[in-house]
């Protein structure tokens, strides 16, 4: 760059030499604002820089304002919309899942109550069956018992009548032996009946 503009480099070098030798002139040069002091105060370069700056700034502004800012804003809006969408979707899915869970719970409850009803019914049925079968068995046993009792009663009565016969015969034999007179079975029987009636 220095090679392209040897005259500038030379003037710059000359300026620096001047500064190095006399500090006071430097201050004076600053006050003047032209050549010397800070290179930024050389007014001959201001015009070009300012015009170029405005040109470049204008182009950059137009590019950013018309192309890149809308593009960036669109990206951000897009993202916001996407996120909002996803959140909404997730919320609806969650609501659906909750509803499904509630339905499943209701189904379970219903099934449970149905099962409880079935159990109660079965128990009642079993109890009824048990009661009927027990009753039938009881009746059967009662009948057997009654029959057995009747048989026993019959046997006893028979035995008792046999006892009366035997007692009559014994009494006839004893009267005959004791008194030597014959008594008839009818007399003995009548006597026994009278005794039995008297005893009763």
């Amino acid at each position: 760059m220095a090679a392209e503009t040897p005259n500038h480099a030379e003037t710059a070098g000359a300026d620096h030499g001047a500064h190095a030798s006399t500090g006071t002139t430097e201050v004076a040069a600053h006050g003047g604002g032209e050549s010397g002091g800070l290179p930024q105060f050389r007014m001959e370069y201001w015009g070009g820089q300012i015009v170029w700056l405005f040109l470049i700034f204008a182009v950059l502004y137009i590019l950013l304002a018309k192309v890149f800012v809308p593009r960036l804003r669109k990206i951000k809006d897009n993202r916001a919309a996407t996120i909002a969408d996803a959140v909404n979707q997730a919320r609806s899915v969650q609501a659906e899942a909750e509803a499904q869970a509630k339905a499943a719970q209701a189904e379970i409850d219903e099934a449970r109550s149905r099962a409880r009803g079935l159990a109660v019914e079965a128990k009642a049925k079993a109890a009824a069956q048990l009661a009927t079968s027990q009753k039938a068995e009881d009746e059967r046993l009662q009948a057997q018992m009654d029959e057995a009792e009747a048989r026993i009663r019959g046997l006893r009565d028979q035995a008792m009548s046999n006892v009366r016969g035997i007692a009559g015969e014994t009494a006839q034999a004893m009267v005959e032996k004791l008194t030597g007179q014959k008594v008839t079975a009818a007399e003995i029987d009548a006597a026994l009946t009278a005794r039995a009636q008297g005893a009763a």
Partner: protein
């Protein structure tokens, strides 16, 4: 030692014919190193945003995150300071920020910093203040005087306050221009001086003897250059940011004139 001011010299790269503006005179439109730095910075900005927004993915890549980050950063800044009406100034503030940032950062990599030229920073400052004044007049008309007459101040205080307000308003473009200019100038001069020490002290130390201690000083200077360079990156960002913030603040004064929010 190399002259630390040499880096600020304007040098012509390509001679172009001068143009004559009415009322101002002939202006040398030659391409200088300053123009090249500005063009490079602008091209870099355009290239950067072209690359970062090319894919426009909903799930951004690394570069896109950076591009969107800068965008959101300035967007939040503008809306935060000016309010929702600030949206229409966003492209201007955004351009200001990225352009100054690009020039500042390029200055750390190349040999020339456009923002260390007062002509550049003053133009940006004057442009900003002109936008403030023109928009303020368009929006508020005659009410613009309220800018210098704070509400609720008794008249006898206004005698004192109004000239101060006017003075501070007039100084705004000056401080805006000088802050950026001074920071860039100072940083680059300091870098150059410390870098010059490394060479001159090293050369001195090379003569041997007691002067060998110069190596230590040269190493310290080198460390200083490294630290300063890191600092300059911070300053490059910070000054672009400060310029954008102040532009927002000045715009806010005229956009929300009379009602502070």
């Amino acid at each position: 030692m190399a002259d630390p001011m040499h880096q600020f010299e304007i040098q012509k790269v390509l001679d172009l014919p001068a143009i004559t503006l009415p009322g101002i005179g002939a202006i040398d439109m030659s391409i200088t190193n300053s123009t090249v730095a500005m063009l490079l910075a602008a091209a870099l900005v355009v290239l950067f945003f072209a690359v970062t927004t090319a894919k426009a993915a909903v799930v951004p890549g690394r570069l896109q995150v950076i591009g969107e980050g800068i965008f959101s950063y300035i967007d939040d800044l503008v809306v935060g300071i000016i309010g929702h009406e600030g949206r229409k100034f966003f492209p201007y503030i955004f351009t200001l920020f990225v352009f100054i940032l690009a020039m500042n950062v390029l200055g750390l990599f190349l040999v020339f910093t456009a923002t260390s030229q007062l002509a550049v920073t003053a133009s940006l400052a004057v442009m900003t203040i002109l936008i403030v004044i023109i928009y303020g007049l368009m929006r508020n008309g005659a009410n613009m005087y309220k800018l210098f007459v704070p509400a609720g101040v008794p008249w006898y205080m206004l005698i004192l306050v109004t000239p101060i307000e006017i003075l501070s308003f007039l100084l705004r473009p000056v401080t805006l221009a000088l802050r950026l200019f001074g920071n860039m100038l100072g940083g680059h001069v300091a870098l150059k001086v410390f870098a010059g020490f490394v060479v001159s002290l090293g050369a001195l130390a090379a003569t041997g003897g007691v002067a060998s201690l110069g190596y230590l000083a040269a190493a310290l200077s080198l460390g200083g250059v490294v630290a300063l360079t890191a600092l300059e990156f911070l300053v490059a960002f910070l000054q672009a940011f400060v310029f954008a913030v102040l532009a927002c603040v000045y715009l806010n004064d005229v956009v929300n004139l009379g009602h502070h929010h």
